[in-house]
C-alpha cells in the first residue's frame, strides 16, 4: 500500500477540517450554548480522529479523542461550555495543525511539554478549567503554531483579472511581430540579443500565466458538497461524500462547464441509486449512503468517477428495452459488452421509452448529460453491480495541461501527435524500391492533394491499438507527413462544440509563440481505405 498517498490525502483533509473547526469555534464563542454548533464541532474532531487512527498517527488521534469528549459533553448540555474551554480547543486546533505538518511526530522537548499540558488539560472535567490557574491567559507556546498558521501564502484574485493579464501579455507578444525594421548598423548584436532575451522571457511569462487558469480538481469537487447534501435532504436520505485524488489540476473553464452534468449525475445517484436508510440496513449496508468522487489523470485525459454504493442498475430492464424498442434478440444482446449494455441508458430515446419501468429515473436526462460531456470532447460511461452500486466515468481531455508533441504539417494543415506515442522519426526515399503502400498516408482523407514526392518524413507511432488504421500486422504505424516542425510544448485546449463532431482530434494545441495546432487522436485515425 502506498502510504504516502494516504498521508497526503490526510494532510489535505485535516487542513480542511481544521479550518472548518476554527470557523465553528469562532461562532460558538459567541453562542456558547448552541448545541447544534457543538455537534458540528464534535463531528469535525471525530473525522480527524478517524483518519489519524487509520494511519496510526496516535498522538493526533489521542488528542482528538479527548477534545471530542469535551465537545460531546457540551453537545449534550450536561456541562455548560465556557470561553476558557473554547480557548483550549482553539489551542489544540493550532497544535493539531502543527502535528499534521509533522506527520504526527513531536520533535522537540518543548513541543512534547506543550502536548502533555494539552492532554492533561483535556483529561480534566471541563468545569474544572476555571478553577486551575489562569486559563484565560493563553499558553505562550501555542502562539508559535498560531503565528505559522497566519503566514500569507495564498491570495484570492478574480478569474477575470487573470484573463486580463493573459490578454495583455499576448498583446505584447504580438507587438514583436510588428517589430520596426532597423538597418544593419542600427541593429547591433547587443540590441538583438537584448530583444531576443526579452521576447523569450515574455513567452515564458505567458506560459506561466496560462497555468493560473488551472484549478485543483479536489477543490472543484468540494463545491458539490453542499449541493449533494441538499439533494439528499430533498430525498430524505443521508449521504457521506468521499473525495479521492484531489491534487490533479484542470482548466477552470472546462470544470465550470462540467458543473451541471455532474449535478445531474449526483441527483440520479441519490434519487435512484442510494436506497432509503431502512432498505439499506435491512441488506446489511450502513444507513448512510456513500458517494465517492475520484479523479485521476492518464495520458492527456482527466477521469472523474462518481460512484454510489446504492442498489445498482437492474440489467433485465435494459434488456427488456433493447428487445422491445430496439428489436434486438438474445443473440444480439449477448454480443454486447457490459459497458455497451449500461451505456444504452445514455441513448436519447431511452428515457422516454422506459418511463414506466423501474429504471426510468436512471434514464431521465442522462442522454443530455452525455451530450454535454461529448461537447467538451469527452465521453461518459456507466458500470454497475446489482446491490453494490453504480459508477459513472467522465473522460475528458486534460485541458490546459502542457504536453510535449511532435508538431508537423500535411499540406496546409498544422497537426501534432503527443511525443509519448512517437517511437522515432525517419525519412524514406520513395525513388528507391521502398514499398510506399505499407506507410499510412492521411492526405487524401483530409482533402489534400497527394503529389508524389521523392522523399517523405515518417513518424513511427508506438502503443498503437487502432485496428482500423493498422496496415498488415505491423505493431507500429508509419505515418507520413510533409514536414516536421519539431518537438514542442503545447498548451492543450478542448475542441469546441462545432469541432467536437470531428472525432479525429483529441484537442487543440497552442504553441509557445501562440500558433495553433490540431492534436490528432491516434485511436481515431480512419482506415487507409476510407
Amino acid at each position: 500500500m502506498d502510504i504516502t498517498k494516504y498521508e497526503k490525502i490526510f494532510a489535505q483533509e485535516s487542513d480542511k477540517y481544521l479550518k472548518e473547526l476554527d470557523d465553528l469555534l469562532m461562532q460558538v464563542e459567541k453562542d456558547l450554548s448552541n448545541l447544534a454548533l457543538w455537534a458540528e464541532i464534535h463531528g469535525k474532531i471525530h473525522s480527524i480522529k478517524g483518519m489519524a487512527r487509520a494511519l496510526s498517527l496516535n498522538k493526533i488521534s489521542d488528542l482528538c479523542h479527548l477534545m471530542e469528549d469535551w465537545s460531546l459533553t457540551f453537545q449534550k448540555g450536561t456541562i455548560n461550555s465556557s470561553p476558557d474551554a473554547v480557548q483550549a480547543l482553539f489551542d489544540s486546533s493550532d497544535f493539531l495543525r502543527y502535528l499534521v505538518s509533522k506527520k504526527g511526530s513531536i520533535e522537540t522537548f518543548e513541543d512534547q511539554k506543550l502536548y502533555s499540558s494539552l492532554i492533561s488539560k483535556f483529561e480534566k472535567n471541563p468545569s474544572e478549567l476555571t478553577k486551575t490557574g489562569s486559563p484565560t491567559q493563553k499558553d505562550q507556546t501555542t502562539n508559535l503554531y498560531q503565528s505559522s498558521a497566519l503566514t500569507i501564502d495564498h491570495v484570492k484574485i478574480k478569474y477575470s483579472f487573470i484573463e486580463e493579464l493573459l490578454g495583455l501579455t499576448q498583446e505584447i507578444q504580438l507587438l514583436a511581430k510588428n517589430f520596426p525594421t532597423f538597418s544593419d548598423n542600427q541593429m547591433t548584436s547587443g540590441l538583438k540579443n537584448w530583444i531576443d532575451h526579452y521576447a523569450t522571457l515574455m513567452k515564458v511569462l505567458y506560459f506561466k500565466l496560462t497555468q493560473l487558469r488551472l484549478m485543483n480538481v479536489g477543490d472543484f469537487a468540494d463545491l458539490f458538497l453542499k449541493s449533494i447534501r441538499n439533494i439528499a435532504k430533498e430525498s430524505n436520505k443521508s449521504v457521506n461524500i468521499e473525495i479521492i485524488g484531489s491534487e490533479i489540476q484542470a482548466d477552470i473553464t472546462l470544470l465550470e462547464r462540467l458543473r451541471e452534468p455532474m449535478i445531474h449525475i449526483f441527483r440520479n445517484c441519490i434519487a435512484h441509486g442510494i436506497e432509503p436508510a431502512e432498505e439499506r440496513t435491512n441488506t446489511g449496508k450502513p444507513a448512510n449512503g456513500k458517494i465517492t468522487i475520484e479523479t485521476r489523470s492518464e495520458k492527456e485525459n482527466l477521469f472523474i468517477k462518481i460512484r454510489d454504493d446504492g442498489r445498482g442498475i437492474n440489467k433485465s430492464s435494459i434488456i427488456q428495452y433493447l428487445k422491445e424498442k430496439q428489436s434486438m434478440d438474445d443473440e444480439d444482446i449477448g454480443r454486447m459488452s457490459e459497458e455497451e449494455l449500461y451505456n444504452t441508458i445514455l441513448s436519447p430515446d431511452f428515457s422516454s421509452s422506459a418511463k414506466t419501468t423501474e429504471l426510468s429515473g436512471r434514464g431521465i436526462g442522462m442522454n443530455v448529460v452525455a451530450q454535454s460531456i461529448d461537447y467538451l470532447g469527452g465521453s461518459l460511461s456507466i458500470s454497475s453491480e446489482i446491490g453494490k452500486g453504480t459508477e459513472f466515468t467522465i473522460k475528458l481531455p486534460l485541458s490546459l495541461s502542457i504536453i510535449y508533441a511532435i508538431v508537423f504539417s500535411i499540406g496546409k494543415y498544422n497537426l501534432a501527435i503527443p511525443t509519448l506515442y512517437v517511437e522515432s522519426i525517419s525519412n524514406i526515399d520513395a525513388s528507391s524500391d521502398e514499398d510506399i503502400t505499407s506507410y499510412y498516408n492521411i492526405k487524401n482523407f483530409i482533402g489534400e492533394e497527394d503529389n508524389k514526392k521523392n522523399s517523405y518524413n515518417v513518424l513511427n507511432l508506438k502503443y498503437f491499438n487502432n485496428q482500423a488504421a493498422i496496415i498488415g500486422n505491423q505493431p507500429t504505424l508509419h505515418f507520413i507527413v510533409d514536414s516536421i516542425i519539431g518537438n514542442r510544448p503545447l498548451m492543450v485546449l478542448p475542441t469546441g462544440e462545432l469541432m467536437s463532431g470531428i472525432k479525429l482530434f483529441s484537442g487543440i494545441g497552442i504553441m509557445e509563440n501562440g500558433d495553433v495546432t490540431l492534436l490528432l487522436d491516434i485511436d481515431k485515425l480512419p482506415s487507409q481505405n476510407q
Partner: protein, 138 residues
C-alpha cells in the same frame, strides 16, 4: 439600440452591437480539415480559441467553390462575437460600422436605413446554421 453593420456579398447584415467583442485584423487563422466550406479555421486570441466563419459562405455556401480558408486575404478583418456562453469569429466582406435605431428590433428581419436594407440576424441564428452543417467523417 445600436446595430453593428457589415457587408456580405451584396447584402447588409446587422447584429446587435452588445454581442460584438472585438474587431481584429492581421490575425493568423489556422485551417482545420474535415470542416464545412464556410469554416475558415481557428484563432487563438487573448487566451481563447475562436471558430472563424466566413459569413458569406455560410449564408450561400452552394454558390462558391473556394473554401473560407482559401478566401482569406491579407489584413483580413475579423469580428469576434460573444453571447451567452458562446463565442465565434466572423469574417465579413466589408465592415460598415455602427448605426443607432429607435426602439427594439425584436421581430424585425429587415431594417431600412439610408437606402440600405439591413438584414437583422442574431448570433444564435448563425450558430444554428453552423450546427446544421456536417463536421468530420462518417
Amino acid at each position: 439600440m445600436k446595430l453593428f453593420v457589415f457587408k456580405s456579398k451584396d447584402k447588409y447584415i446587422g447584429i446587435e452591437s452588445e454581442y460584438i467583442y472585438r474587431i481584429i485584423d492581421d490575425y493568423k487563422v489556422t485551417p482545420v480539415c474535415l470542416t464545412p466550406k464556410c469554416y475558415a479555421g481557428l484563432i487563438f486570441y487573448r487566451g481563447e480559441l475562436f471558430d472563424v466563419i466566413n459569413i458569406k459562405l455560410l449564408l450561400g455556401s452552394s454558390e462558391y467553390s473556394e473554401s473560407a480558408y482559401d478566401e482569406l486575404i491579407q489584413n483580413q478583418r475579423i469580428i469576434i462575437v460573444k453571447w451567452h456562453n458562446k463565442k465565434l469569429a466572423v469574417i465579413p466582406d466589408e465592415i460598415i460600422g455602427m448605426i443607432w435605431i429607435d426602439g427594439d428590433f425584436e421581430g424585425l428581419s429587415i431594417y431600412h436605413h439610408e437606402d440600405k436594407n439591413i438584414n437583422l440576424i442574431t448570433p444564435d441564428y448563425i450558430w444554428k446554421k453552423l450546427l446544421e452543417l456536417s463536421y468530420g467523417y462518417h
